[in-house]
């Protein structure tokens, strides 16, 4: 066996298909279904129409559907303007607390770097492959952190506790992601070792996977981490996960592609220490470090620091990449393995390059001469073993800072992990909402409320599992407490390291200044050389325009001009004129504003033949080859020019460059890359040339490819020309022209940030610096299309403050909801529609149209339900749009003429009436009319003393018909609703992160706090409608008319007869026989009545007896039920108490 294993490849046995047995039978069974076995003819015989369309309509429909699907797949191609190697991709690891986020990062880091990470603080950059770097960030558990993380994530790993199921955080995060551009998402199921039953595990996986798919797309990757081995995820699974990450492609997202942004991985306070000493609450200067992402960052752009505010980036400098790709890095150091790793907030990584210093962080076990240095508190105790010299050096280092200053510094960058706020256990255990198809469920686990997202179809399973899961949760309590202990240890370590870094910075700063001085001399000398040697003077022309330094004062400009005045060519033509004008206008800030250049010098006499010949080649009548040469020559010289300059700088500045950055990237490699780029460019140029020569061919190919391909082609060409045009510009100039490229490591200095940002800095919360484009720092009204989230339980009320997350920002604002009517009017809505989009208008910093918006009402962490209240997209900035509200003015007529009526109670003053002249009115019965004018003293039937005040408010209206006194007249009008000019940026970074940010409160919240009732207008209450019965007067027909009427229609109102009729009056005498019969009938009737009376009495007696019996029975049963209930309640109470006691123990 051993020989075989070592000897070489063992030939694998080829697979042999089973020809008998169960599996063979299975295969043969399935075969007849497939078409393979059948010949074509046979198929046709079986079903000749199966593969043909039966109707042309259906064929058309299918075809259109197919093309629609095809088009849906297409996206408008976006130009990727990133040049060079990209910044590390950000992998955000998100999940509810205690799901294993940090552990996953630790395992992944371990996998890549073979390094054990004590704790995950801040972004961790690693090199994952030759072409790829990754930056791992742990998403904090509050909603603010989640929103910020969603804005910079390239890949989100959603960790889900498999033993528990989905929690609200996951869905909230997904929703935020979707609205801020959807980056790649991958689900990771953890805690799968809690399942004992394999079948159940399988089912749970299946269920969770399908639920995950419905949220993202069918087939979205859900990864399973089956369990822990030695407190770590299994190597194989982490390896697989890393493989998935490494092949992932990241599509450009439109918001991020148009805005530069930086995820800060290092943060320092650079306020002068004495200033802090004087006033510990003074505004601070901070430096932020991070990779530039998104798009190029120009100097002087404003940026938004999430949770802090808008700031000017006062100093931006590019630093050498702290974590370069291996292909670029020089193989100089020994420990190449560990260099692929950069996490300053976690206190790891070794070399830090700063603007003016290099920090060397030496791991303790690599230092040979002493085991520990002063930075380690435990080390001081062991200090006896130390060398004297070493100690001397260390003490010298220490003298630069006093101890308390160091302590201050240390508390800046490192914070202990705050414990989670434990939720009061009296929270409701379960809350089933009946309204939507999702349900929320809370239970108390490890001292916090877990917000479970339960869906109807899986309700039953979850309830069954409930107790089991709970038990396992409480079992792991001990582990968590241990973890927190570890945290504290690592904290102290980190603080020491940062202290050491500070020392380094101070010691190095002196020498770097010296260097700069030297450089200054050299550059001066070189300048004069330049002036003498170069005949091109391209810098001079730029200086002429932009001035020598950054300052743009006109005096400077003039000086520059005078210096160069001997060169005729580069003198701007107007300069002479300007000077001559100076006599008239003593300062040239008021010169005339005129784009046309009027040359004061005498024009040449173009009748001269020589002159004409001199410009002949500029015309088509001239020599074409000459003209061509003119263009070519110029191009050639430009190229030469560039080369000359390049060489020149290689001699001088090249050295300078190296001197400046001691550890610069390899030049040879850069050259290689340049060469490759040039080759690529040449190819493209050739292509472009070919296209130019054969435009018809080009057209053909484009038509064949389709629109999107044409666009793609165009964009690629544009990108290549960009690269080509900027290739010959030197580094400093390039930065000035196009800004810092994406992927560079930047140091940004921000002045005058509030001290709270430094004080409350927490490395667990990533800092996002997002650049603002033109016009995005101004404030105005914005209109968004908004929809309440279907999982949010209430509709939203107009004028209730709400927190919006738009672009980089988060701010609280007061929206007014509206909907567009048929005629384009924006009608105010008191509440958002239940399931429909509506418009929302609010005041705030502007964001370009199509930007996604997430709205939140409550930021608190222990809130039970789904926190995202609404989602929206920005439609436009709109100052002109008016939101209207309906107003109904109601009045009653006080005097009616033919078609004119005086209406009272509608207006309160003549002025109001004047405003509404010509407005249309209507009565309840539907008679339309028009407001005319205020009535002046025309009403005589009203006592003027009583209604003296009212008289002004009476208005004359005309109607299309006569109205009745009982009619109500109303006027339908619209009034504009003012949108409140209020917005309040969320300053969550300026307060402790575990504190909930409190902004403006809603009216309902205030009422609840102050225990106020909702004010009730008595007039608005509904009362029972009282309708008096109408009294109608008798109809009177005039006598003349009556006479003319036919008899049938005549009213027959004769007086009632006074004497009774004869029949009633006369007496009746009976015959003897008749009398007998009559008596008999009377007797019989008497008997009958007596019988019924007896029977009735008997029945009543019976009923009474029955009722008594029944009441007795009822009493007994009631008693029994009460007893039963009491027993049940007692048991339930016991159970509850037990649960309450469990998590506390």
């Amino acid at each position: 066996m051993g020989k075989d294993g070592e000897g070489g490849e063992q030939p694998h046995k080829s697979h042999r298909v089973r020809k008998s047995g169960a599996s063979a039978k299975k295969k043969s069974k399935s075969k007849p279904n497939s078409t393979e076995g059948l010949s074509k003819e046979l198929q046709k015989i079986n079903n000749p129409k199966a593969f043909a369309f039966t109707s042309s309509k259906k064929a058309k429909r299918l075809q259109s559907r197919a093309t629609e699907k095809e088009q849906k797949r297409l996206h408008l191609p976006t130009i990727d303007r990133n040049i060079g190697e990209p910044a590390p991709f950000v992998v955000v690891v998100q999940g509810p607390p205690q799901v294993g986020k940090s552990l996953l990062i630790k395992c992944l880091v371990k996998h890549y770097t073979k390094h054990d990470l004590p704790e995950v603080q801040g972004p961790i950059t690693i090199v994952s492959g030759k072409q790829r770097r990754l930056q791992f960030v742990e998403c904090p558990n509050d909603i603010n952190g989640m929103i910020d993380c969603a804005k910079f994530a390239d890949l989100a790993l959603l960790l889900i506790d498999g033993s528990y199921g989905f929690e609200m955080e996951t869905f909230e995060f997904l929703n935020i992601l979707q609205n801020h551009g959807f980056p790649r998402v991958m689900g990771v199921l953890t805690h799968l070792d809690k399942f004992e039953d394999v079948k159940k595990l399988k089912k749970t996986k299946q269920r969770l996977k399908h639920r995950f798919w419905t949220e993202i797309y069918d087939g979205a990757k859900l990864f399973y981490l089956s369990g822990l081995i030695h407190g770590k995820y299994t190597k194989r699974e982490v390896h697989n996960l890393a493989r998935f990450i490494s092949v992932m492609k990241f599509p450009p997202l439109s918001w991020r592609a148009s805005h530069p942004y930086i995820l800060v991985d290092r943060f320092e306070d650079v306020t002068p220490p004495e200033k802090v000493h004087m006033n510990s609450k003074c505004d601070r200067n901070v430096t932020l470090y991070g990779y530039l992402r998104g798009c190029n960052l120009k100097k002087g752009t404003r940026a938004h620091i999430a949770g802090v505010g808008d700031y000017h980036l006062s100093g931006v400098t590019a630093l050498a990449d702290p974590c370069p790709l291996p292909s670029v890095a020089k193989k100089k150091g020994l420990r190449d393995k560990e260099k692929l790793f950069y996490a300053p907030m976690s206190g790891l990584g070794e070399l830090l390059y700063d603007k003016d210093a290099v920090y060397i962080n030496i791991n303790d076990h690599f230092v040979q001469f002493s085991k520990d240095d002063g930075a380690n508190p435990e080390g001081t105790e062991k200090g006896k073993q130390r060398d004297v010299g070493v100690e001397l050096v260390k003490s010298l280092q220490n003298t630069k800072y006093s101890v308390d200053e160091k302590l201050e510094k240390s508390n800046i960058s490192v914070f202990g992990k705050k414990p989670h706020i434990s939720e009061a256990p009296e929270a409701v255990e379960k809350d089933h909402s009946t309204q939507s198809n999702y349900k929320e469920e809370f239970d108390l686990d490890r001292g916090r409320v877990r917000r479970k997202a339960v869906f109807e179809n899986e309700m039953d399973i979850d309830n069954k599992d409930f107790f089991l899961v709970h038990k396992s949760g409480s079992g792991s309590l001990l582990v968590t407490s241990q973890d927190s202990g570890e945290d504290d240890d690592s904290d102290s370590n980190d603080s020491d390291e940062t202290e050491k870094g500070d020392e380094d910075m101070l010691s190095d700063s002196g020498s770097s200044e010296d260097k700069e001085d030297e450089m200054g001399n050299i550059s001066k000398w070189k300048e004069s050389l330049l002036e003498r040697t170069s005949s091109r003077r391209n810098i001079n022309l730029e200086q002429l325009v932009y001035g020598t330094s950054g300052s743009k004062s006109s005096d400077d400009m003039k000086d520059a001009v005078e210096e160069e005045s001997d060169e005729e060519f580069f003198k701007p033509k107007g300069e002479g004129k300007k000077k001559s004008n100076e006599g008239i206008n003593d300062n040239d800030v008021d010169i005339d504003d005129c784009s046309k250049f009027v040359s004061t010098g005498s024009l040449k006499d173009w009748k001269n033949e020589d002159l004409i010949e001199s410009i002949r080649d500029r015309f088509v009548t001239g020599n074409w080859s000459n003209a061509k040469a003119r263009n070519e020559l110029s191009e050639g010289t430009v190229g030469d020019d560039g080369e000359v300059l390049g060489d020149f700088e290689d001699l001088e500045t090249g050295q300078k460059y190296e001197g400046d950055h001691t550890d610069d990237v390899g030049i040879s490699n850069k050259d290689d890359a340049l060469a490759a780029e040039e080759r690529k460019l040449k190819k493209l140029a050739l292509r472009a040339k070919f296209d130019a020569q054969y435009p018809f061919l080009q057209l053909d190919t484009y038509n064949g490819d389709g629109y999107s391909d044409t666009l793609k082609e165009k964009m690629e060409l544009q990108k290549q020309t960009n690269i080509a045009e900027l290739a010959d510009v030197d580094e400093d100039k390039r930065v000035e022209i196009e800004g810092f490229r994406t992927g560079t490591y930047l140091r940004i200095e921000v002045r005058d940030v509030p001290y709270e940002m430094v004080d409350n800095f927490n490395p667990f919360h990533p800092i996002l610096v997002g650049g603002l484009a033109l016009g995005e720092d101004s404030v105005g009204y914005m209109q968004v299309r908004l929809k309440r989230h279907r999982w949010h339980k209430k509709v939203l009320k107009t004028r209730d403050p709400i927190i919006m997350s738009i672009g980089w920002r988060r701010y609280q604002t007061v929206p007014i909801y509206s909907i567009e009517d048929r005629n384009g009017r924006l009608r105010m809505l008191k509440y958002t529609p239940e399931h429909m989009h509506c418009l929302a208008m609010f005041w705030g910093p502007l964001a370009p149209p199509h930007t996604g918006v997430v709205a939140i009402q409550n930021l608190s962490n222990n809130q039970a339900s789904f926190r995202i209240t609404a989602t929206a997209t920005v439609l436009e900035f709109n100052h002109a749009a008016k939101i209207m509200k309906k107003l109904k003015l109601v009045g009653t007529p006080c005097k009616i003429f033919k078609k004119t009526a005086f209406i009272q109670d509608m207006f309160t003053s003549d002025l109001e009436i004047a405003r509404f002249e010509g407005a249309s009115v209507r009565t309840v019965s539907g008679i339309r009319g028009q407001v005319k004018k205020a009535a002046k003293g025309e009403i005589s039937n009203k006592p003027s003393k009583k209604g003296g005040g009212k008289e002004g408010a009476i208005v004359r209206c005309t109607f299309e018909d006569k109205i009745k006194m009982g009619d109500t007249v109303f006027l339908r009008a619209w009034i504009q609703v003012e949108v409140p000019r209020f917005y309040n940026p969320l300053t969550t970074a300026l307060q402790p992160r575990d504190k909930t940010w409190q902004g403006m409160k809603t009216v309902a919240e205030l009422r609840r706090e102050h225990n106020l009732q909702v004010p009730v207008n008595k007039d608005s209450l509904y009362r029972p409608v009282e309708r008096r019965p109408r009294k109608f007067n008798p109809l009177v027909i005039p006598k003349s008319l009556q006479a003319a009427l036919p008899f049938a229609s005549k009213p027959k109102d004769l007086a009632p007869r006074k004497r009774p009729l004869l029949e009633n009056r006369r007496a009746v005498v009976m015959e003897p026989h008749e009398r007998k019969v009559h008596a008999l009938v009377q007797h019989l009737q008497l008997l009958n009545t007596e019988k019924t009376r007896k029977r009735k009495r008997k029945e009543a007696e019976k009923r009474e007896v029955l009722a008594v019996e029944k009441s007795k029975e009822e009493q007994i049963s009631k008693k029994r039920q009460r007893e039963e209930r009491r027993v049940r309640y007692r048991e339930e109470d016991k159970m509850k108490k037990k649960i309450r006691r469990n998590p506390q123990s």
Binding site: S258, N296, K298, S535, R536, L541, E542, L544, V545, K552, P572, K573, G574, K577, N587, D588, V589, D590, I591, D593, C594, S595, K596, F597, V598, K604, D605, W606, K607, S614, I615, D617, R618, F619, V620, R630, N631, L633, V638, Q718, T721, E725, L726, K733, I737, E738, L774, G775, S778, V779, L846, P848, P849, H850, L875, E876, F877, N878, H879, A880
Partner: protein
């Protein structure tokens, strides 16, 4: 962000440009010391008229001017555009003065702009409306502005001092411009001229164009000058005549020169009056010489349009634009300075000694039309 931060500027120079850039980059500005030292301090009526024009086309912009008019605050709003707008430009500066910033502003509006401008159509100080029609609008097309809806219609002519001209400008809106690499100046293919006479005999016109053509004929056969004799209402209220010459090259560049002759008002200085005295033939020769001087200089645009060209380059998406111009004009330099001031876009300026031209390169600021409504 609570308080509005104004950008502080001084003097009345380049006010149009400053206001335009302020509106495009939505930076509020304060301009101080406007002709503070002069006998007639403060804003001129035409500057006020321009401010009013801005208020007309944009929404929610605010202008505060102090009592003497030497200082004002301008907070830009949103460019609304819209149809059936009318603006009276006054008779101090010609319509060209207002058109230059307006066409750029109109591109970045909420709705396409159609505006009727009244005033002086042709004078010798600002580019004439003919120049706009034939030269400026084609420049815009180079930067991806759709030709549909981009139009300038001359209704009436009007020359100083009384004006009375009328043009209708319509500008479409764009989402963003397109970067242009435009360095091929080509060869002059043909020369077209547009002369007009208003309230004067057409004889003036004929003589002028005859002389002008005399110069070109030795260089190029394809020269044609259109005449446009106006009478009645269309001729405006003052007598005058003028000419615009446009040289078109094989690569589609247009180089123009224009002038107008009229009886000067009170405010004209002696220099202008002298010019007025010269016979029409001399005017024709002079303007032909000016055009030839422009052609000799090289570049894809003439010196008048340098400013506009630089501005368009700077407003492009963050791609490289590259243009070639002749000598930098003072106005062009001012534009470059202001662009770097407001839009933070700097140009790389390289002379091309072989052709005595300058090649400018820049990466656009990536301005997008934010006021457009999302559909």
């Amino acid at each position: 962000m609570g308080k509005i931060q104004y950008k502080q500027l001084k003097g009345s120079q380049n006010m149009r440009l400053r206001l335009l850039l302020s509106t495009l980059s939505s930076t509020p500005i304060i301009i101080e010391d406007i002709r503070a030292e002069e006998t007639l301090p403060g804003l001129r009526p035409y500057e006020l008229s321009f401010l009013r024009l801005l208020e007309e086309v944009s929404d929610d912009c605010s202008v505060e001017i102090n009592e003497t008019g030497t200082k004002f605050k301008y907070k830009p709003g949103i460019v609304m555009g819209g149809r059936h707008l009318v603006h009276d430009c006054g008779t101090l500066r010609s319509i060209g003065y207002f058109l230059e910033p307006l066409i750029v502003l109109g591109l970045f509006g909420k709705k396409p702009l159609t505006i009727k401008l009244k005033g002086i159509t042709n004078d010798s100080k600002d580019p004439s409306v003919d120049t706009f029609q034939k030269t400026t609008l084609p420049i815009l097309k180079q930067f991806g502005v759709p030709p549909e809806g981009l139009e300038l219609k001359i209704v009436n002519r009007g020359v100083p001092p009384k004006g009375g001209g009328e043009v209708i400008l319509s500008v479409p809106i764009v989402k963003e411009l397109e970067a242009a690499i435009w360095i091929d100046e080509g060869l002059v293919r043909r020369i077209r001229g547009y002369s007009f006479s208003a309230r004067v005999s057409s004889q003036f016109e004929n003589e002028m164009l005859h002389k002008a053509r005399g110069i070109f004929n030795r260089l190029l056969p394809d020269v044609h000058i259109y005449t446009d004799h106006k009478a009645g209402v269309q001729a405006g209220e003052s007598p005058g005549y003028g000419i615009t010459l446009v040289a078109e090259t094989t690569s589609g560049c247009c180089i123009s020169a224009d002038t107008a002759v009229y009886r000067g008002g009170e405010e004209e200085d002696e220099f202008e009056e002298k010019k007025e005295l010269s016979p029409p033939g001399d005017i024709g020769e002079k303007i032909a010489a000016t055009l030839l001087a422009e052609i000799e200089q090289g570049g894809v645009v003439d010196s008048t349009h340098q400013g506009l060209l630089f501005l368009l380059c700077a407003l492009c998406p963050p791609d490289v634009s590259k243009v070639r111009v002749g000598k930098l004009s003072p106005y062009g330099i001012e534009v470059l300075r202001h662009i770097s001031d407001f839009l933070k876009v700097k140009f790389s300026i390289k002379p091309d000694p072989a052709t005595n031209t300058v090649i400018l390169k820049c990466v656009g600021c990536g301005l997008k039309n934010l006021s457009r409504k999302a559909s």
